[in-house]
Symmetry: C2
Subunit: 267 residues, 2 copies
């Protein structure tokens, strides 16, 4: 028996999130089906991040156990004809049988894309959240500065979070938040602004609540200082709105560990 670790990219638009649900199309469900068809075994993956409905990924991680002799690095190509076109496995490697993608220290990077202007561009609507505004990025950066570091992010978590309900800690470390604007492309009046956020873990809806709160600052409705107040209030009602799922992409998960379980040739 071998444990194989896969890196997964998907367009979240047509998925009801990662986690298997009865009668709903999910990333995990499609992955289980494709791997079972490929190997002839009854495969159930364990995912690293259970992204929400509509959230995209470039680098989510999942593992599964198999008797198959397919070389681990061949899974991306072997799976091509078994997976739907809104989903790709981009890497495969073998990890120890004890390796669990949610029980290792890791660094996660998310990107949130805002499209800002007078009217939404139909071609941006699936992968960016539209704001009828002309936001001040410098102010958003200033506000983001209050969130970087180790904090109790209770104000920036959905209170229905399983971890919080079970009394778990809301303390997380954000290593960096960066905002940058794409160059304009011909004929497109809208501004595309990318929020990139890296940390050691994120509570339920945390990135989307940060994205929604920073846009409150960008539009001038909030001062940057109000974000610091929201953070210290430890009260979800003091932070801004949860930004739409469509703007969010889980970019990468990097595991902090020795050689064991690591299959990133790059970096």
């Amino acid at each position: 028996m071998r444990r194989i670790r896969l890196t997964i990219a998907y367009d979240g638009t047509a998925f009801c999130g990662f986690q298997v649900q009865p009668d709903a199309r999910t990333v995990e469900g499609e992955l289980n089906r494709a791997l079972s068809e490929l190997t002839g075994e009854n495969i159930t993956v364990i995912g690293a991040s259970r992204t929400d409905s509509g959230v995209h990924a470039l680098g989510n991680i999942a593992v599964f156990d198999t008797e198959s002799t397919i070389p681990a690095e061949r899974f991306p190509f072997a799976l091509l004809s078994f997976l739907p076109e809104d989903m790709k496995v981009t890497e495969g490697c073998e990890v120890p049988l004890s390796w669990h993608p949610r029980k290792q220290d890791c660094i996660k990077t998310y990107e949130y894309v805002y499209s800002c202007g007078r009217l939404e561009d139909p071609k941006s609507r699936l992968y960016a959240a539209f704001y009828e505004s002309d936001p001040d990025i410098d102010k958003m950066c200033e506000a983001a500065g209050y969130l970087v570091g180790e904090h109790d992010f209770t104000s920036f978590a959905n209170p229905s979070s399983q971890i919080l309900k079970e009394g778990g800690s809301a303390v997380r470390t954000i290593y960096s938040i960066a905002l940058r604007e794409d160059g304009r492309t011909a004929g497109n009046e809208n501004r595309t602004i990318r929020l990139s956020i890296t940390g050691n873990g994120f509570l339920y809806n945390m990135v989307r609540i940060i994205a929604g709160t920073l846009m409150n600052v960008g539009t001038g409705r909030w001062t940057p200082e109000k974000v610091a107040e929201a953070l210290s209030a430890l009260d979800r009602t003091k932070a801004g709105p949860t930004a739409q799922a469509r703007g969010l992409t889980l970019v990468s998960i990097r595991y902090i560990e020795g050689k064991e379980g690591s299959c990133e040739a790059k970096d």
Copy 2:
């Protein structure tokens, strides 16, 4: 009676092209329905460019005649609740009743987007054509140079073109072809290359055949000089393949005329 000119943006993915067809969802069909519902009249638009199935637009143009008293510039907002989310009217203005969007000299700009790498990114699949390659942009630019200027583009037109079948001229002028590469975004290994092409008119499938032919050069299968030979052959079979519709966007149509019929406040 007034003639109103609209600028239209759409995601072509779920449309069977611009032109009305029985039992198929088309841009023109949705526009006719939305305008008829809004005005209570029986509206039929005249479009400038009958884009193919799957081709996108940021700035297609259509006109219609109405007794409605809605100010022309209000149509984008008035139509918002009548149009599906993959389509937006972005500008409206009044033009003379004699103004026809296909009977005026104009300058059209198209953009073709290639996504190049080892595996397709699911989030790019609707708006870019994927190539499993690492193309040489300099070579593509060199080849593009042969196409700029006034030429007979018979080799770069679908022979089923109505204009050609009726014995019309295949001479067109390309003012510019530019290629540029997007900066890399975190976690995405693929290269996004944008081909921007401006001319006084394009034959059926011409931009897509140019895009497919230039990629032949980018991948090294063709020398740049072979594009010059294909052009002078006046034979469709001598040019490269027609690139996929999904990569193409009609960016803008600018009319060359006096004040009459022009409603571009910008420029």
